[in-house]
Amino acid sequence: MSETGASRPIIALKDVTKSFGAVSALRGVSLELYAGEAHALAGENGAGKSTLVKTLAGVHRPDSGTVLLHGEPVVFHGPADAQAAGVAVIYQEPTLFPDLSVAENIFMGRQPRAGLGRIDRRAMRAETAALFQRLGVGLAPDQPARGLSIADQQLVEIAKALSRDARVLIMDEPTAALSGNEVDRLFGVVEALRAQGCAVLFISHRLDEIFRLCQRVTTLRDGAWIASEPVEGLTHDDLIRRMVGRELDALYPKQDTTPGEVALKVERLTREGVFTDVSFEVRRGEIAALAGLVGAGRSEVARAIFGIDRFDAGKVTVNGRELPPGSPTAAMGAGLALVPEDRRQQGLVMDMSIERNIGLTGLAALRRGPVISRAAERDRARDWALKLRLKFARLNDGVGVLSGGNQQKVVLAKWLAIGPSVLIVDEPTRGIDVGTKAEVHRLLSELAGQGMAVLMISSDLPEVLGMADRVLVMHEGRITAEIPRERATEESVMAAATGRAAA
């Protein structure tokens, strides 16, 4: 069946079911991974993809059904068993130890040894550097993991998985925060592994990537197996129909708007060593995109504007009011909202319920007298949960039990609920499925139509081109180009992002 003609899958799932309380995350799912084949797993948010991954990884044990290793049933008692069987996993959410260096994270638990059982730091560093070279990652092996951007964290996780001699490589949305260049490098490495006979399972909500990398695709819908088929001969629409069960409207429903007065004005903003002399404006009714490669400084600019980080020089004005530096509270008061890139650390309080997370940005608005009105809080949450088609069991469930894409929706809800006049979104659709992506795009477009100014940071180039009225491109901490919608193409944006063109 597979290209290399191996008749027996390296690893397979047979009729696997898995429930969490009342939620059945997997219902009778089967999947076969062959040597030398890249297999895609497609499905909407909450379809059960990550649950399937964790079953293969030994994190979850199936309620019924079996995991087969070379055709023999096995029971993984934990991730260690799966690793011993040659399964390497990149989980959807990076889980690095913040106080350890990047290299220590990569070799956690299996550090190379020198004499007397000491850890061979030099070997560790060298191997890490070699891995980064292969992946084209500009990180230093000794750098601490704390403070890495989500994209960099994801790259470290990728390096970690690749550093194991894996025979099965499982990647749960490894590319969600990566831009074109890093994705190309990753795919190059994966291709090489595949040629060596590695079996690959790949998850992504960017359908293009599935078509580029994979030979077969399995689709899940609401935990149920829908199809396993060759990618060749399949169209985007076919795949979407399998995932969603219906036809989809336009993915980039951009409305034409006439920009109004300036809502956000950034002048000569500089933070030493991070970004320099950044100036731009965003008008009411306009969606401006901030494009660039990972590490160009886009998120850092957003954080400084919102007052998370201080800056060394420059000025931020919202609706004509200059913001005091270093105060998110003041920024919110002026009508600014920031949907941050890291949902688990910055976007959500993971221990709190869905409704409390959504309520957290509106503690003043939800007050009735001195106390918070539970009813108002619940209404606010329900309202936005419906608008964003959140998949949840109860609003007072912890956000931690939601699937990754649904967590992202809660972050969006939390910020849209304050009705900002300027909205900065950092990777707004990271990990969000196609159907909902279209919803989010429609929402952003609508909000802009109603006069909101939107600054969108995105590593997803089609999203940038599809949604932005104007593309600001950053390269190494500076804005190198400002491209109006008509002239924004993949080439023009990439050229500026890689520093090949002057503005």
Partner: protein, 339 residues
Amino acid sequence: MAPDTASDIPVRPAGEARGGLGRFLRWDVLVTALLIAVFLAGSAGSDGFATIDNLSFALGDLGEIALIALAMTMLVVAAEVDLSVASVLGLSSALIGALWDGGWAIEAIIPLVVVVGMVCGLINGLLVTRLGLPSLAVTIGTLALYRGLAYVVLGDKAVAEFPANYVSLAVDDVPGTPIPYPVALFAVLAVITGIVLHATGFGRSLFAIGAQEEAAFFAGIRVKRIKLLLFVLSGTVAAFAGVVFTLRYGSARADNGMGIELAVIAAVLLGGVDFDGGKGTLGGVIAGVLLIGLLRNLLMLNDVATEIQSIVTGLLLIISVLTPRLAAIVRQRRRAPAL
């Protein structure tokens, strides 16, 4: 970047009912049950225990610990701690002694020492929020510092003979009830704290800060200002507790209240507040405070040496930190074997 592999396994929000059997495994319910058990055992075991007089005395004896526990609960929920409270109490007591000795009016002394407590809390708070130092370390330092100041102020003298009308406010019962005034004050403050913690935006902010400080900051919560306020509050309450303590014993000394920070923290943790922040209920803390009080009283009635009392407090502290951890580990094992 969660440092534990278990982070993939979602945790339930605190205080959420599990329904069925699980509900009875909630920590604060457990502590309340334990409280009742100790009460019943005490009544059966010692004659003088279950009398109105003794219970009223036991409550009164608990006054300072209970008051300080209210402020401490808010701090610990926000993932901070103040170990200097007993020393602030001592400093407050020493100041009262020195000033009273120096001929000041009690009406002037009380507000002044409360302000001094406020400043003590402010110093803790500034060190933690401005310099980013861990509160555990900062307040261990000020624990020694403030106690030292207390000795500087009063030496090892003891000052007594405070005005009777003030002493009676600290000792007497509210007319017609067996409840001492400080305990009545505690009851009122406990209700207010409960509302603040569990029903207001401020309380929500505390839980958010304790559970995920970065996310709280991103949500526009003034993390530093709130923490500073909590430390100021803690210092203020501790100084006021010093006033109550001094009047209740009728004696101002620099070593007053030595070591009660441990009883306070034991009560808070016993009440189910997570030392890592973000979880806990005031109801649980009140049960914890009462439990500590009853145990101390029982030990005293049975003439158990003070060293043993200290051992009991220490054990309770360890048990209350350990048990939830063990329970969590057991629960995880069951869900995902051999992580």
